[in-house]
Symmetry: C2
Subunit: 584 residues, 2 copies
């Protein structure tokens, strides 16, 4: 049984920065080769970053990606790395027309290639295209119809891309038919809460179906609303986990695999499952016996639920700031839990020295709010100042008659305007403090607390925010550090403080109840009747459903933020703004 | 040769309001039957409105649509309309799994049905699904694989839905193979500038390919960013236009068609082009000879380029206000051409009595700006007031150090905040005045002049705005009315008036030049090199391309507006916010 030393490069490609991504592929391949790897794999579309969205439709971008791929093959060889096959995802184009989709030859494809000996040894395109949730791949790509099998070190390695294993049949069945000894899958699989469990279950099932070991390499980092958690995995056909990379960190996973020697004599063009055709690439190298010093496969421990979510929020925020070319952020600090959590995430993401906060009290702000904001600043060491919005408020009230909600919203908008003024003057990226419960029901002010370029907790329900705040403080204690969030911020009743003695429960159900209904309506896609049947008060359900259905416009105008849940309010939920459908 | 009296109901369905849409189908069918129609057709998804976007993924909405269809068949019969087949688009679901797309049985489909005799005589789903530009139909639907042929009055009528004729093959080829005497296509085809010409060319070509007369019924109205222009057409196999409905108006087109008597004996299940299976429905009625009094087919004249665009902007604005349940709008009137045009569009859309405007001068506002704003109000009769933003501006400057761009943006944001305050207090929907040239290059202030729920001219280049303003004034003169827009508003150099003596050309190229480059880069998808090769100054091209590529975030945060061009900045152009790709 030959040994294959495999390297999975769990990296963070930057969308659109092909030059940077090429450099990274060379750098990581060098490390992998130094570690003795015989086969190196990078994530889906590592060369262009993922997802490129409508950049895929710019012909010049497709050509830049294709040219960079060829150049990269040459660079690897020039750097003495040409003797090891490297699997790299890139943006390519189809050779043939796809009449079923009305698309001509030359249409963009989500591709991967094997680079070897200074050349592109083989190329192929994703077969199953995801077109749900955050994915729009039938918009950008046409599917591929090949099963590439690479014979390396005497082992037949079948190759696949991400969705190819999330749908039944296709390359998984074809890999078995082709007698593959390893199924290697390159991925750009975004984070969702508990997705690591789902992913492990999936790769186990697909390994069994393919009848061979399965290696899964994923990316890390963040791109707009998407966060990538890595979690690269190798399992054998019996479902045993042979190795697993840590979550949310760049990581090179190198391990020795004992794999069956290739014996298949199937030839090119053989028709397999789902209309796939076999395409063989033989590198001509010899099988290698198990090395004297076998690499111990590492299985990184999983993070706890809270730690995982926190890591996603921090990773998403850091990526967004960095990739937008910014260095510092600005947060309006009210003394409440939402802005405290956002500031703490920012401190963990880019360091307290890059986090600027401003307290903006009005005549309705309580003393404890001001104190709590200052206390958070003291504990974390972030930059802090106070600017009262009272004079601006008075100037508006003198100019025009404003009462009730108009007066409440005005205060929020004056704060938004102040944040943007400071941002424009000093060059910070503004973070918006809204949470998912508020956004769901429209309990926020357009151009007020919704101001910002990124919303770190926009996909986190309020009840989870309390849990995360407590967890972060406990985590600090475990590390022997000062807990960042003042206890009073966590324990006091939530209030917008836009009128005297206001609390959130004046306008909304208790957050635990609200979040339970929201979770069923949004994540569960349950209709009003089903939620009532589950035992919830019909009046509450009707009210919540009506609020959610009418807040679509506000949600559309909200900044992007890291996706945590199965259904957030960014890319993956697209309702018409003007619709009369209620209580569905 | 039998005669068939056909009625095409060019109506305005409301997304999500199934009850209202059902009522409309009954009302219009009654008119059609009174006019002697033997076959009545409504647009694509007329029962649910179009596009329903992610509402398609709510099972309860699909079931509501399916139930309403059955109920509608009964209602039509109860109202004495059961003897005439009625073709109605609705949201349905598939009977079989679609493994190629990884979708189970019961997945949503974009369907149409023939209602007859109190029952659903036949149902079918769209075969070609559009998944480009504003369309995401592989996200929502699975394709259908039938060619329905309805034998009515002795004529074989093949049925198709919208995209079915925009792609080659499919139901057009199948209709010929089935020997159809008429190809009836129900549509939800959004407006784009000059699309009527494109559509006419298309239906002529498809009629020739199908070898029979083609009848095309489209919807009118607006849904968020989409405007539907109607333009229903009937052409014969030689491409002669037999009838054409007006643009942008609800309209019942009734005409007598001499069509070949059905002679085909093809049976159900016959495999036709593109994997389609024939499904026959025979109503059992007899062929009818040409009536003594033949209906004269009308061919409505086309609008001029400016009139067509104006009608689209007015229709989109009216629909958005009405369908959001609002009655009045609020516009900040600067005296400049953009806000003047927006106010004029609003006056045409919902009447001057429902248009509220406010002039918000700062210390940098010129006297002519104030005068021009007041003059527009005087000419149109809209509601007008003036509120100075000077005191608010001073309050901010006293509280924090602001210079340059921060000071300029502040003024714009103070106006946005004032508009929202008045909107909250009085209940108007705020219209944003931004144009496509500004949005393209990011020459606008987030939370400032971008404030609003709808942007009537967001897809109109500045050079076209001047043309539209002149056209609207000339049109008023032709009608013997007062031209709404003051001549000085059109003739003075554009300025944001955010600092002394500022004009737009301080920051941007001349608008004619800018728009030429933008048109190539955005509509034409030309790369930087191609635009330079066409003779444009490389420095200007580099600057414009850089500005466009970095303004994505601002554009995403902009309100929706009526789509006019092939590529606008709403639904149909989706770039990653954080991308490093430049000059592609």
């Amino acid at each position: 049984m030959p040994n294959l030393r495999l390297a999975l490069s769990q990296i963070d490609p930057w969308v659109g920065d092909i030059a940077r991504n090429s450099d990274e592929v060379v750098r990581w391949t060098k490390q992998a080769v130094e570690a003795g790897a015989q086969l190196v794999a990078f994530p889906e579309m590592a060369l262009t970053g993922y997802p490129v969205e409508d950049l895929a439709l710019r012909r010049s971008f497709v050509e830049a990606s294709r040219a960079a791929l060829v150049e990269l093959a040459g660079r690897l060889a020039d750097d003495g790395l040409g003797g090891v096959p490297v699997v790299v995802g890139y943006l390519g184009r189809s050779e043939h027309a796809s009449p079923r989709f009305g698309r001509p030859a030359g249409s963009p494809q989500n591709c991967a290639a094997v680079l070897y000996g200074g050349e592109v040894a083989t190329r192929f395109a994703k077969h199953h295209l995801p077109n749900y949730g955050v994915f729009d791949e039938y918009r950008w790509f046409v599917p591929g119809d090949q099963l590439p099998v690479l014979r390396v070190g005497g082992v037949d390695v079948a190759l696949a891309i991400c969705e190819d294993i999330w749908q039944d049949g296709g390359r998984v069945s074809a890999a078995r038919e082709a007698g593959a000894g390893l199924l290697l899958v390159v991925n750009g699989s975004p984070y969702e809460r508990n997705k690591d469990d789902q992913r492990l279950e999936l790769v186990r099932r697909r390994a069994a179906e393919a009848g061979c070991t399965l290696a899964y390499v994923n990316m890390v980092g963040g791109q707009d609303e998407l966060v990538f958690d890595g979690d690269s995995i190798v399992v054998d056909a019996d479902g045993e986990v042979l190795a697993r990379s840590p979550q949310f960190e760049e990581h090179l996973l190198v391990l020795d695999l004992d794999l069956p020697e290739a014996s298949s004599d199937h030839t090119d063009g053989l028709l397999l499952s789902d209309g796939l055709h076999l395409v063989r690439t033989e590198l001509g190298d010899e099988p290698r016996p198990a090395p004297a010093e076998r690499l111990t496969a590492e299985v990184a421990p999983r993070l706890s639920d809270e730690a995982e979510i926190w890591a996603a929020l921090v990773a998403g925020t850091r990526a967004y700031v960095q990739k937008n070319g910014m260095r510092s952020v600005l947060v309006g600090l009210s003394g409440g839990i939402d802005s405290a959590l956002v500031a703490s995430i920012a401190v963990d993401a880019i360091g307290a020295e890059n986090v600027y906060c401003v307290s903006m009290p009005s005549r309705y702000s309580s003393q404890h709010s001001r104190d709590d904001a200052a206390e958070l600043a003291r504990r974390t060491g972030l930059h802090f100042r106070t600017v009262s919005i009272a004079p601006m408020f008075d100037a508006y009230l003198a100019a025009t008659e404003l009462t009730g909600l108009a007066e409440e919203n005005l205060q929020s908008r004056l704060r938004g305007t102040l944040l943007m003024a400071i941002s424009n003057q000093e060059g910070h990226l503004v973070l918006a403090p809204g949470n998912k419960s508020e956004l769901a029901v429209g309990y926020s002010t357009l151009y007020g607390d919704s101001v910002g370029a990124y919303g770190p907790i926009k996909d986190v329900y309020k009840s989870l925010i309390f849990r995360l705040a407590r967890w972060r403080n406990e985590e600090a204690e475990r590390r022997g550090e000062v807990p960042p969030i003042p206890e009073n911020t966590i324990s006091k009743p939530p209030s917008a403080e836009l009128r005297p003695d206001q609390v959130d429960t004046d306008s909304l159900p208790d957050y635990d109840l609200l979040d339970s209904v929201l979770d069923r309506y949004i994540e569960g896609d349950e209709g009003r009747d089903a939620i009532v049947a589950a035992g919830f008060d019909p009046a509450v359900v009707d009210r919540v459903v009506r609020l959610v259905d009418t807040a679509e416009y506000k949600r559309r105008q909200y900044p992007p933020g890291p996706k945590v849940s199965a259904k957030n309010f960014g890319r993956d939920r697209r309702l018409p703004i003007t619709n009369r459908w209620r209580r569905g």
